[in-house]
Symmetry: C2
Subunit: 331 residues, 2 copies
DNA sequence: CTGAAAGCGCTTACAG
DNA sequence: CTGAAAGCGCTTACAG
């Protein structure tokens, strides 16, 4: 193990000078060169712990995720990781398995570890979150949800909901099943639905039935048959791609043809929506870019630079084959 | 920030005694009680960096993964994480984005960070891996691949290949397209194929055509049409579920009915194989259990306990609807 | 621009 | 069982 003392000795300077060199302080050109070459020769790498102990700050970023096996999470993590690498930061990922308490625990334990900042992929913000945030006093960036007490980076869920609503209405659908999730999840449960409802409200002749399910594909699969039987919608609007995938499976099992017998839309832009047959029309959110952006924002927060309280990211609608054009077939 | 000195003062003992208490050294019952209560009052948590700096060992485990957005990886990580939590260990995940050089870099950088051990979800072992392993001198557990120089935890790829081969042959398939990946990936590319070939070799009347593709779904989708046109197989045996998903998509696009026109099998047991229509018959590997087991093994390695050089994990075949029974239809 | 010194919070022989 | 002391590898005023 080569330490800063070794470098100092071999370069014929003091430890403090080496340290200054390492941290971009003022060092003369000649000593700079000398130290540099010694470091290269020896392959010296600073001991992170010693640095952190003294500096009371690490270059470690903690990311708290509700689950690891989700397309959105994976892509976001990739983006964060990629960006953090450029900042020479490490990322620690903490998976809470959808357990809100663990989320809180993790905030505290990250704080004790002197982590530089936290990226929280949140689904809900509770009173405990607020309290933890107040106490720990390290920068936290909320991703995917908005809350007054946090800096946040969110998808444009409302507009996305509005656009998908307008889109399917233009295609002539008037009897629609909306398969949503709990409104406790403001972004996914509430905003997407509200946007959609706004679009619906612009058409007086539209009949929409609202249902609530979970994020689990299996649950959607189970719920669909009875919905089809009872109201015979021409279209399912699903609050997530996973739910859409479940509807597709259930409808296929029922022997229905998509989109001729029933149409489907999702939200997310998960890879799988393109792989299934037929491809599912959906709203694509740019998860990886969200990750990159999140890392950038957190970095600014850490460095006390100015950051907008809320940043809204864009989306785009991807038209595939899962939505029938009824207005066309009526001609 | 409350430190060990605070605890010492308030308990009326020396820092070293507190430290001994914390680390399970010999402390009298009365001082034990005293220290304990002070710690509880103050909410003291040891500073990880100070500990690590001195002890030259952390409770951090590094996991190196080739990609983050893979079902197998995610599930394995969940298993590792869950188990590590019980050991009070942190996990740092490092994503190499399939870049072998980054894998090597990460081994070194983990070593410099005094990480306790490394779990390497490997696809290939190169000379550089061997060199890194020799140099860093910290326990490394290989997951998914076997190599003499490593402790490893692997799937039973050969037997799985053999079983799927036997299964489809029993179903009467005799004209088969095997869609594999590079043999550089010993486990996925070579062993699965070898096992399958062994099964085939037991039937003289079987015609198999071997093709190579990547792990990317898109590439499989592109390759399939020409294969179907040129040899008209009754069945595709795919070396991974993603490839199988691609074949299903391509065949569906071609207007073929699965399994009536062409059958498909995969390897892996990814969630998605159950969600697509029809469900894909596949080999299920227990990825989450692999993760748990990996964490357990690495822990033993770290504690210098005895560990088998190679541990082979089980699998099971999941029959779904993607394989036609030709022997039945011939009756 | 440079160096000596103190100290970050902990652990570890060592002596008692 | 307990305490004083040294030291892990680094950074940071401070003085020059």
């Amino acid at each position: 193990m080569v330490t800063i003392s070794d470098i100092a000795k071999q370069s014929g300077v003091a430890k403090s000078t080496v340290s200054r060199f390492l941290n971009g302080g003022s060092v003369s050109e000649t000593t700079k060169l000398k130290i540099e070459s010694v470091i290269n020769e020896t392959g010296y790498i600073p001991n992170t712990f010693a640095q952190s102990l003294k500096a009371k700050r690490t270059n470690i970023i903690g990311t708290i995720v509700p689950r690891l096996n989700s397309f959105a999470t994976s892509q976001t993590l990739i983006g964060i990781d990629e960006q953090l690498r450029e900042y020479n930061c490490q990322m620690i990922i903490s998976n809470t398995s959808q357990n809100l308490e663990r989320e809180i625990e993790n905030i505290y334990s990250f704080a004790k570890q002197k982590i530089a900042g936290i990226i929280l992929l949140a689904t809900q913000i509770t009173e405990a979150h607020l309290e933890a945030t107040r106490k720990v006093n390290i920068p936290i960036l909320l991703v995917g949800q908005q809350h007054d007490a946090f800096y946040s980076l969110i998808h444009n869920d409302f507009d996305a909901g509005y656009d998908i609503g307008k889109y399917v209405l233009e295609k002539g659908h008037r009897k629609i099943a909306y398969l949503g999730v709990s409104e406790k999840d403001i972004a996914v449960g509430l905003k997407r639905k509200s946007g959609f409802q706004r679009a619906v409200s612009e058409h007086s002749d539209c009949e929409v039935h609202y249902y609530e399910t979970s994020f689990k594909i299996g649950e959607a699969i189970k719920k669909v048959p009875s919905i089809i039987d009872s109201i015979q919608p021409t279209l399912f609007v699903c609050a997530t791609d996973n739910i859409a995938l479940g509807v597709l499976k259930a409808a296929s099992l029922k022997g229905l043809n998509i989109p001729n017998d029933v149409s489907i839309t999702g939200f997310g832009g998960y890879d799988m929506t393109e792989i299934v047959y037929p491809g599912i029309t959906t709203i694509k959110f740019y998860y990886e870019e969200v990750g990159t952006k999140a890392a950038q924002m957190l970095m600014k927060l850490i460095n006390d630079e100015k950051v907008d309280k809320t940043t809204i990211l864009n989306y785009k609608i991807i038209e595939r084959e899962s939505v029938d054009n009824l207005s066309l077939s009526n001609l």
